[in-house]
């Protein structure tokens, strides 16, 4: 009698836990379908032209994603240009140069950068870093390269450049920690044989460690890219929120995420709301594709290197 009662619970347990797992899949599909459905009025009105129009005018109900997409791409590009080389040398320091104790402390500190909430980066960026940039960095950049269109205009601090630099700080820990893991996967026998031939640390890194781990490093960059593209609050604080496209990195711009954060609660009109949701759909689509590529790539690498991941 008792036994039968117990047996009844087992299938129930199994199905309940399965239900929890299915929630994950339902959510992913639900987000995609909800965004597509919510964007319909805008999809119907603007079609593919939405992606290529620079117009963003709630007064006449005309919307285009170009300035937001441009801002997202450029700020992410600046972030990657700064974060990738920096992460590589920091990972090199952690794996090859620092003694284990120091490596652990420094590595922990770098990882702590990832734990700082985005809004704290925003506060620091708006009140401390942007004024610093305007007073000390931007005038120098303008003086060093007077002819370049990137460094023209008044040094306001707030704008594309500060957004890119803060994004770089935010993705640095992600790229560093994956790169560090990849570097550690390189068998020490391979490295030691290079050292045995008389190579210097840099030569071992450039000719053995990096080529061995290059795929993992690329995967790490994809992960960082995915983070940077969807980052919201820090960017919203410092990017300046302007729908104008400007070649100068000093001027205010916007990104998909910052436009959503700024304008979503203000969107009273259906088409306005749909256009914002379509922006969200574009962002979701891009991060989905990046995630899929990154995971596929990292898994392929892990398999190739015979590691369990």
């Amino acid at each position: 009698m008792l036994k039968q009662k117990n047996n009844m619970f087992d299938p129930l347990f199994r199905w309940t836990t399965l239900g929890g797992s299915l929630v994950v899949l339902v959510l992913v599909a639900g987000i995609l379908l909800t965004l597509i459905n919510g964007a319909l009025p805008s999809l119907e009105k603007f079609g593919v032209g939405f992606l290529f129009s620079q117009e963003w005018n709630p007064a006449i109900n005309e919307y285009g994603a170009l300035s937001s997409v441009y801002g997202t791409l450029v700020s992410t590009l600046i972030a990657m240009l700064i974060a990738v080389p920096l992460s590589l040398v920091i990972a090199l320091f952690l794996v090859e140069l620092a003694p284990p104790g120091i490596s652990r402390v420094v590595g922990g500190a770098i990882e702590l950068l990832a734990a700082i909430p985005s809004i704290i980066y925003g506060m620091w960026g708006l009140f401390v870093f942007a004024p610093f940039l305007a007073d000390h960095v931007q005038p120098k950049l303008a003086a060093i390269a007077p002819g370049l269109p990137f460094f023209t205009g008044p040094p306001m601090g707030i704008g594309m450049l500060s957004a890119g630099i803060i994004l770089a700080l935010m993705i640095l820990p992600f790229i560093t920690s994956v790169t560090r893991d990849v570097f550690q996967m390189v068998p020490s026998v391979v490295k030691e044989s290079a050292y045995g031939m008389g190579s210097t640390t840099w030569e071992v890194t450039r000719k053995v460690t990096v080529p061995y781990g290059i795929q993992g490093v690329v995967g790490a960059c994809f992960l960082g890219l995915g983070r940077a593209i969807g980052e919201t609050m820090a960017v919203t604080f410092v990017i300046g929120n302007s729908h104008e496209i400007s070649a100068s990195l000093f001027s205010a711009a916007n990104s998909i995420a910052s436009t959503l954060a700024n304008e979503f609660t203000e969107a009273a009109d259906d088409v306005y709301l749909a256009a914002l949701i379509e922006l969200g759909l574009v962002l979701f689509g891009v991060t989905l594709v990046l995630q899929i590529i990154a995971r596929w790539w990292l898994r392929r690498t892990a398999k190739k290197m015979g590691a369990v991941r």
Binding site: N6, T17, V24, L35, V89, P117, M123, L283
Partner: protein
């Protein structure tokens, strides 16, 4: 191949070593700069009123963020209540039943996708399904948005922790005639409890600093949180609103709130990392 000047090689090597050391120092310097700023600017606003009073209109002295502190606790608590059981269930299924099946792979892939989804997209999703349909912003919508962000994190850490439990323990329990559910919840869970707890704490730390998913779900409010069906005050959206305001005393409160958020999020993260690190040794 032409032999190269060893002096040059050593020089290049030395400069790269210095560069990488400098880069590591730069990372630490930025961390110190950010945290130092938050502590210096925030500490002045932390006082008794900060924790006990409602916000005052700009210009008037006093006032605190007690409603936002309470609201954040309340939204986070609701999010844990929703997100953790579902996440644990998913983790159990992945570790105990799904294993290497096609469906389990799909669920793992799905939770990776969900983890990589920008939190603002989760906010938009919850807005469309809960706020637009009911016609009002609400604390419960904010909690659900946070729960969606926690779910994949809890599920994957739970799976990792449960897989670490030796099968001999499961088999021993089953051999005694214990049903599967009791073996999992009573024996396997018990063996993995520290790991499960720290994983959950990490997920809580992660969501309690989130702003973007609350912007258009919980919104914000200058009043005490009362029911789950109305806009609810919370610390992160308050930081955003106050920082963007032109009033000095509001901005000072925003710094105080930033310090509180930073201390609780980083404190939890460091604590759980330390526990995990000691356990792994």
């Amino acid at each position: 191949m032409k032999p190269r000047n060893p002096q040059n090689r050593k020089l290049v090597d030395l400069s790269i070593r210095l560069l990488s050391g400098a880069a590591a120092l730069f990372g630490i310097a930025m961390l110190t700069w950010i945290l130092g700023t938050v502590i210096l600017k925030g500490a002045g606003s932390i006082n008794w009123e900060f924790f006990t009073e409602l916000p005052a209109p700009p210009g008037l002295p006093g006032g605190g963020l007690a409603n936002a502190i309470l609201g954040t606790l309340y939204i986070t608590f609701l999010a844990v209540l929703i997100g953790v059981p579902i996440g644990l269930a998913a983790g159990i299924w992945l570790a105990e039943f799904g294993k290497d099946s096609k469906l389990a792979e799909a669920v793992r892939f799905g939770s990776n996708l969900l983890m990589g989804t920008p939190s603002i997209i989760i906010g938009v999703f919850v807005f469309v399904i809960l706020v637009a349909t009911t016609g009002h912003f609400s604390g419960v919508a904010g909690a659900i948005a946070l729960a969606i962000i926690m779910l994949p994190v809890v599920a994957r850490t739970a799976e990792d922790m449960l897989v670490l439990v030796p099968s001999a323990l499961r088999e021993a329990a089953l051999a005694l005639g214990v049903p599967r559910w009791k073996a999992t919840l009573g024996v396997v869970f018990c063996a993995a409890k520290t790991g499960l707890l720290t994983g959950t704490l990490l997920a809580i730390a992660r969501v309690s600093g989130e702003t973007a998913p609350l912007l258009f779900t919980a919104l914000n409010s200058p009043y005490w949180p009362s029911t789950v069906n109305e806009p609810t005050a919370n610390l992160t959206v308050t930081i955003y609103n106050y920082a963007m305001s032109p009033y000095d005393d509001w901005q000072a409160l925003a710094w105080g709130a930033s310090l509180l958020i930073a201390v609780s999020v980083l404190g939890t993260t460091v604590l759980t990392r330390t526990i995990l690190w000691y356990r792994s040794r």
